[in-house]
Amino acid sequence: MTVQLLNASGCLDALVAPGIAIQLDAFVTKTVTPQAREGNPPPRIVETESGMLNSIGLQNPGIDAFVEEILPRITELGVPIWVSVGGFSAPDYAEVCERLDGQAAVEVIELNLSCPNVEEAPETAAELVAAARAATTKPLYAKLSPATWDVAESARAVAGAGADGLSLVNTIRGLALNPTTRRPNLPRGAGGYSGPALRPIALACVHACARAVALPIVGMGGVTSGDDVLDFLAAGASAVALGTILFSDPLAPSRIRAELSDTGVPAVVVSRHGIHGFVRNSASRHVLSSE
């Protein structure tokens, strides 16, 4: 069993860095919304002791420009494409999924149900998944927030609404202040907290959801090394995504594969036995298709 590595949505631009994208088992796009968005005003990022905050605000060209200008070009890379879909209402999600349903190049649709940097949709995560489900037959991965008392409950709800997999986790809201002015370091105040500090929280979410539902899980949150990847697989993930680490080490995908190929694979199997009592093969169906 080889380990499936993806990028985390919004943490890699395949057109700017094709050499990195092709090292992945699948490339996940930045979240696409129905209309083009300029995103939030700068500054958009600030570093913390063991993570970072971002307030990008889903800057993207909108679904039309994405399908016409971007999708054809990333398709040429020959890497399986996962499109991250966002919106501000159930019809938004349905509209974008419908546009993507006819695109053969799109292997999986990841529903960003949990961006902390924009106003949320009035509907529940399950309602948004149901709307997307009605609009496409493509595999749907529901991306959940760790900012919930019982993430396993959310997992059961989106599974019931037709999700084929889970992406865990998105960022959680965090705040940092400028040490001189004591004002928030980002114009909107809070931003999305990512990086190593998020890892224990993400691992707890993966662990809880792997016990609650039989869906494959793409684990992410502060992964920096092969060792971290093994932790996520042990917790119940069937694939792992790299986010913040790509900013400091764009070569992380190849480095991590090398770290895993040393002692990794047996450890994976052992460890997943350790956690699940059995290896969840079904867990990898979509991602394994990229082999």
């Binding site: 700017v16 990022i45 764009p250």
Partner: protein, 235 residues
């Protein structure tokens, strides 16, 4: 010797990433000049930048190349926060990962170049001056102590606040290439419509991955690390 490098095509340009040995550091007024083994990295075009690993920090820090002596790369660093302080306290023999060169540098095809820098904005000027054959340069600093950095650009005119670099700009037409604090760049923008200005923004990745560094250009949010840091004023 620094371990092997890997080359990457980023935004259509060749960059390399390598762990480079620190060959030395020296104080320059309140700043620190960090000298690194060049390894297999290209110095690039003046005004381009590199992402330097900041020890014990989550994110690397963008730094303009200051000088390109044989087999070395040097960076002039202003210790304003945790990342720059960590870089300024590096010791010879330690090593950090460096990625670059990145971004758009200055267009060197100019007739009457005049270099203008404010504060730490002097950082890219020595390498730029060398490429242009030491054109006239004006430097502005906050204090006499900061002005000590002027020695990196012999022959440059230097002013200290309250006087401003804009007072020293020649009146006859010239090609301004500038780097410095935003107020200075804004002032130049009105004074010299065709100036090439090197801007700053907080950067997480430096190669177009995070959308953290956007600045508004013609009403659109563009990534400064890909479309800049040097922008043609009129553009």
């Amino acid at each position: 010797m620094s371990p092997a490098s890997t080359s990457l095509s980023l935004a259509g340009r060749e960059a390399r990433r390598q762990r480079l040995l620190v060959t030395g550091t020296e104080p320059v007024g309140p700043y620190t000049l960090l000298r690194l083994e060049r390894g297999e990295l290209e110095p690039g075009v003046p005004g381009q930048f590199f992402m330097l690993e900041a020890p014990r920090r989550v994110l690397p820090r963008p730094m303009s190349l200051c000088q390109a002596p044989p087999r070395e790369l040097t960076f002039l660093i202003d210790p304003i926060g945790p990342g720059t302080r960590a870089l300024c306290t590096l010791r010879s023999g330690e090593a950090i990962h460096v990625l670059g060169p990145l971004g758009n540098g200055f267009d060197l095809d100019v007739d009457r170049p005049v270099l203008v820098a404010g504060g730490i904005g002097i950082a890219p000027m020595p390498y730029l001056a060398a490429a242009l054959g030491d054109p006239p340069a004006v430097l502005g600093f906050r204090t006499e102590r900061h002005a000590e950095a002027g020695r990196l650009l012999p022959g440059a005119e230097i002013v200290v606040e309250p006087r401003l670099v804009t007072e020293l700009l020649p009146n006859d037409p010239c090609d301004v290439l500038a780097c410095g604090p935003e107020p200075m760049l804004e002032a130049l923008r009105t004074r010299a419509p065709h100036a090439q200005l090197a801007w700053e923004a907080r950067m997480a990745c430096g190669y177009g991955a995070c959308y953290g560094c956007v600045v508004e250009i013609d009403g659109r949010n563009r990534r400064l690390c890909v479309d800049g840091p040097v922008l043609r004023n009129a553009a």
